[in-house]
């Protein structure tokens, strides 16, 4: 029970340990990805709006 297979087996508790880490990664990663996409979109919208206004002057 050494190396990678030992790590994956988690002493027989693989089906509890890995999902716990997976859920944490999925949820927090999802929140982070959403925050990043929203930030990019907010920058882009602000940028276009300012350019649009500048071009009308």
């Amino acid at each position: 029970m050494n190396g990678i297979s030992g790590l994956l087996a988690m002493g027989g508790y693989a089906s509890f340990v890995w999902p716990a880490y997976g859920i944490a990664l999925a949820v927090l990663g999802g929140v982070a990805a959403q925050a990043w996409r929203r930030y990019r979109a907010s920058l882009l919208a602000l940028d276009r709006l300012q350019q649009h206004r500048a071009s009308r002057r």
Binding site: L7, M10, G11, G12, Y13, F16, V17, P19, A20, Y21, I23, A24, V27, L28, G30, V31, A32, A35, W36, R38, Y39, A41, S42, L43, L44, A45, L46, R48, L49, Q50, H52, R53, R56
Partner: protein, 259 residues
């Protein structure tokens, strides 16, 4: 301090500098923490490898409570002083706290099944944590239920303050009632009772979670302030005429969720 921070332009300058550092520090701590907790840390002599669930469960629980306290304090500042940034901070922190609470509940359930023989029990600790999750969801829903975001924000702030009563109930639930959940072993009077080989990765993960919260909060607050500025630009453009010309030459007016 409060007044100094009240200036959104100052926040934008400050966060532009600190956000990248905070984000990369969070990634570093989490990568090191994951390796430490999954590979280096020893299995428990009673719980075997399931003890590794602790390294996501406990930091998520700490920050679920910590973020709620932050939301409540920011809400209080927003209600009392009409602090323009505090309202934004409270509203943008709440979904992150809800995510931590969900991770805590889900990982706890996955820990409970092999160790207690059940996914869930309706005892004090678990139930009060579930109530915290609902408080977060209620706060988010209430803040978004009004057409005027500032009215929604005030309603959400009041709910956040009322919900603070739940925090000591969660913390002391393991002492006040009989529960399957173990009592505190890190933050307790008389010192911690956890072995260093397990405490160290736990603290690294907790630091990583905390840095992640600060980085995500800054990112979300920056987004909200950008969106607010875009809205002001659109409204200030000069009444119906401007609105018409924008319609002819469409600007991607992303109506972002005010969460």
């Amino acid at each position: 301090m409060i007044n100094w921070l009240a200036n959104p332009a100052r926040f934008m300058r400050l966060s532009a500098k600190t956000l990248p550092w905070c984000g990369w520090a969070a990634v570093t701590f989490l990568v090191v923490g994951l390796y430490w907790s999954l590979v280096v840390a020893p299995p428990d002599y009673q719980q075997g490898d399931t003890v590794r669930i602790m390294y996501v469960h406990v930091p998520a629980a700490w920050w679920a409570l910590g973020v709620y306290l932050f939301v409540a304090l920011a809400s209080a500042v927003a209600l009392v002083w009409r602090h323009p940034l505090a309202q934004v901070a409270a509203r943008e922190a709440a979904p992150i706290g809800a995510a931590f609470t969900f991770v805590c509940l889900a990982s706890g359930s996955l820990w409970g099944r092999p160790m207690w023989g059940t996914w869930w029990v309706w005892d004090a600790r678990l139930t009060s944590m579930l109530i915290l999750f609902f408080l977060y969801l209620g706060d988010i829903a209430l803040a978004n239920a009004f057409e005027d975001p500032s009215r929604g924000g005030r309603a959400g702030s009041v709910l956040a303050l009322v919900g603070v009563v739940n925090l000591p109930i969660i913390k002391f639930s393991v002492d006040w009632w009989n529960t399957l959940h173990q009592p505190a072993s890190v933050m307790r009077l008389g010192g911690s009772t956890i072995a260093f080989s397990m405490l160290a990765p736990l603290l690294v993960m907790a630091t990583g979670f905390g840095l992640l919260f600060v980085a995500l909060l800054m990112l979300r607050m920056r987004s909200a302030l950008n969106e607010r500025r875009a809205m002001a630009l659109r409204l200030n453009a000069g009444g119906p005429q401007a609105l018409r010309s924008e319609r002819e030459q469409p600007v991607p007016a992303r109506t972002a969720p005010q969460s």
